[in-house]
């Protein structure tokens, strides 16, 4: 976070601050069993989305291209997707727990963004094709959908646990119905699968078109940690959805699969950067560096 330009740092600090305040309000909502902060949370989320959009725009101007090579940018786009989905859903789901858990989820994404924050970078000349635009956007969309599906999965598992153990009084009026949570979880999973499939196809298209220029063999691609994790996630999603269709796979198993995939995707986005070696980024230098060069 401290590598960012002063203006970027200011904007991102604003996002983080709003996110922390939202999480505190979300906690207070649950403690007081009152939805009075919900409107404020919607306003704060909207401001966070605007600030993230502004930050992305600044980066686009800096690198004179759509900023898509860095994980930080991906996290910001992820946050925007989740935020917009939350704003759309909050018109229908007004229960305390849904609003609060989504606020915490956004804080989680913002903290992860802070961990991987770094100056804007530009893409290698070789990979600047329409494939990469489709690939980056669809993968980020898949990530956002899986995070939202996970929110629903967490709420579903918690609700189900309370209902099964007959400690359900606390749920009444504060939690969306089990049926709604299951449907939204499944919807998120399906959208994520569709976006991920598109991302994988565009990724393969990119490899087919530019593999030689990048100097990477098929073995290099297949052993890249990020690619392996995404492929495994895609396989899990596929198996889950097939089992759902064929055997009527129930809500609990769907929720558990969602959480596993969410973990894998987040690890692929961030963890692979920190813990594993990945040549997937194709960035050449930071914008500050490029400006220094100029």
């Amino acid at each position: 976070m401290f590598d960012l330009l002063p203006v970027e740092r200011l904007l991102f600090f604003g996002i983080l601050l709003l996110s922390v305040i939202s999480s505190i309000l979300a906690h207070l909502q649950i403690v007081k069993s009152d939805v009075k902060f919900s409107r404020l949370l919607v306003v704060f989320t909207s401001v966070q989305i605007l600030l993230a959009g502004g930050l992305l725009a600044m980066r686009a101007v800096a690198v004179k291209a759509f900023p898509m090579s860095g994980v930080f940018e991906s996290m910001l786009i992820l946050m925007i997707f989740i935020g917009i989905s939350f704003l759309l859903l909050s018109a229908y789901l007004k229960q305390i727990w849904f609003v609060s858990v989504t606020a915490w989820m956004l804080l989680g994404v913002n903290i992860l963004a802070a961990v991987v924050a770094k100056p804007a970078s530009v893409l290698e000349e070789t990979v600047r094709t329409p494939w990469v635009v489709v690939h980056a956007l669809s993968m980020t969309m898949a990530g956002a959908m899986i995070v939202l599906a996970s929110t629903m999965a967490v709420l579903f598992l918690w609700s189900q646990k309370r209902l099964k153990s007959k400690r359900f009084v606390t749920l009444f009026g504060k939690m969306p119905t089990i049926e709604t949570l299951e449907k939204l979880n499944l919807l998120g999973l399906r959208l994520s699968f569709a976006a991920m499939t598109l991302g994988l196809i565009s990724g393969i298209g990119l490899i087919a078109a530019k593999s030689a220029g990048l100097g990477m063999t098929l073995a290099d691609w297949l052993s890249d940690s990020k690619i392996v994790l995404v492929a495994v996630s895609w396989m899990i999603l596929l198996v889950t959805l097939v089992l759902r269709r064929v055997l009527g796979f129930g809500g609990r198993k769907i929720a558990q699969s969602t959480l596993v995939v969410c973990f894998l995707i987040l690890f692929a986005f961030i963890g692979s950067k920190i813990f594993c070696k990945s040549d997937h980024d194709f960035e050449i230098k930071s914008s500050t560096q490029s400006r220094q060069v100029e």
Binding site: S159, L163, K164, K166, F168, V169, L171, F172, M175, T177, I178, E179, T180, E182, L247, G248, F249, G250, G251, R252, K253
Partner: protein
């Protein structure tokens, strides 16, 4: 004037005594008519429910019927020996009577706190009294304040929010599981009393697809016809469960469980594991408790639901303090109005007397050479303003006196001022003559 309450309720008398004194709608009408004839100039309202019989009256302190006379009249109207029930009766005056009505109307005095039936019954009682023209300024204000207080309590506390019956909790559970309970399919296995109660509750929630399945087809048909729901033979039960969202077990097996874990498991796989809420209201239970372990099956026995109902009652009671606080505020506001209500006409008299003095003084001034003075109009309006300001000071003083020392003290003070003013007026009249 004083507000009097004479009553008997489930806390002071057993049902055998209450039923002797109970009034049906016709009897209430008769009693109100006769009360108005026997004690003219008083106000009356009569509330009679299965848990209480209460008569609210506004009577003159001096010259009006005493509370005991009223109590005797009411008891004897029902041809009951007064001495036999006197120990069960309670008599409350003024503030106590007002507090009692507010407590009753907001259901804080009911067997189940938060039930809304009593509010409707109090409204009905007031409506009948209005129809017989036995209410007046005080009772009208009292009952309207009681309804407003009840609304405030319901809005600001959660005493009426939580379900406190087994059937109510079952419906609440269904609402937590299914988004659109109206289009959920409800299957009631058994047509007993509890089964019927649940049919009523689900119909109240506007469920469109309710099916009764009973061993005795005739009894099932009767229940289905009575409530306008579907009826199916017992042999079709499994087929109905395949389509159901909510299954109510209201029929026991002769021995063991009617539904074993394996039977439900097999049904669940046929229904592709769609969520199923099972409410087992039979004793002994008709569903194997192990069924709860099956994915997407939510099983609750009558004990589970009763426990929640009990917890909800406790939670409602937790809000009691807040509700009582609201009642206290309303009672204080009502009593403030009630005690100053009699002083209102006296204040009018004070103003009238002062105006009279002003007119006399003006007449005395504008005589002889001053008769056609041009300043008359100006002087009159100036004097009027002085009288208004003096009146305002006096009225404010009387108002604070009634709040600090009671209505009687304020009345005494007001009457003193009127007497003195009248004396001045009569002296002026004598002088003029």
């Amino acid at each position: 004037m004083q507000i009097v309450l004479i009553g008997i309720n489930h806390k002071t008398a057993p049902v055998e005594v209450r039923e002797q004194l109970a009034f049906n709608t016709e009897l209430v009408s008769d009693a109100l008519g006769e009360l108005a004839q026997a004690f003219g100039g008083c106000e009356f309202a009569l509330l009679s429910t299965c848990n209480r019989v209460e008569c609210y009256a506004v009577v003159e302190k001096a010259g009006g019927p005493t509370p005991k006379e009223l109590a005797r009249w009411l008891v004897e109207f029902r041809s009951v020996d007064y001495e036999a029930v006197t120990e069960h009766l309670y008599i409350k005056i003024n503030e106590d009577a007002v507090t009692h009505l507010f407590t009753v109307c907001s259901s804080l005095d009911s067997m189940v706190i938060g039930e809304n039936q009593i509010t409707s019954q109090v409204k009905e009682c007031y409506k009948i009294s209005c129809q017989h023209e036995t209410t007046g300024k005080v009772l009208n204000r009292l009952f309207h304040d009681a309804f407003r207080t009840t609304k405030e309590i319901i809005t600001n506390t959660s005493i009426a929010n939580r379900r406190v019956s087994v059937a109510g909790v079952a419906v609440e559970l269904a609402r937590q599981l299914f988004t659109d309970i109206k289009s959920s399919k409800v299957v009631i296995a058994g047509a007993g009393q509890m089964g019927e109660l649940l049919v009523e509750h689900f119909l109240h929630e506007k469920c469109r697809d309710v099916t009764v399945v009973n061993r005795s087809r005739q009894r099932g048909c009767q229940l289905a016809e009575k409530h306008g729901v579907t009826n199916q033979p017992w042999e079709q039960l499994d087929k109905e469960i395949l389509e159901a969202n909510i299954l109510v077990g209201a029929a026991s097996a002769p021995e063991g469980y009617l539904f074993s874990k394996d039977r439900i498991k097999s049904l669940m796989s046929k229904r592709r594991n769609r969520s199923l809420l099972i409410v087992d209201i039979t004793v002994p239970r008709s569903f194997d408790p192990a069924i709860v372990k099956i994915e997407n099956v939510y099983l609750y026995s009558i004990d589970d639901l009763a426990q929640v109902a009990q917890d909800n009652i406790k939670l409602r009671e937790g809000d009691l303090e807040q509700a009582i606080e609201i009642i206290c505020q309303s009672v204080t506001a009502f009593m403030d109005w009630f005690v100053t209500r009699d002083i209102g006409p006296l204040m009018g008299q004070i103003r009238e007397s002062f105006e009279h003095i002003r007119e006399n003084e003006m007449e005395k001034f504008f005589v002889g050479p001053r008769q056609d003075a041009g300043c008359r109009e100006f002087l009159e309006s100036s004097m009027s303003r002085v009288v208004n300001k003096v009146c305002h000071c006096v009225i404010r003083h009387i108002d604070s006196l009634s709040k600090e020392h009671g209505a009687e003290e304020a009345e005494k003070f007001a009457r003193g001022i009127i007497e003195n003013a009248q004396q001045i007026i009569s002296e002026d009249t004598k002088k003029n003559q």
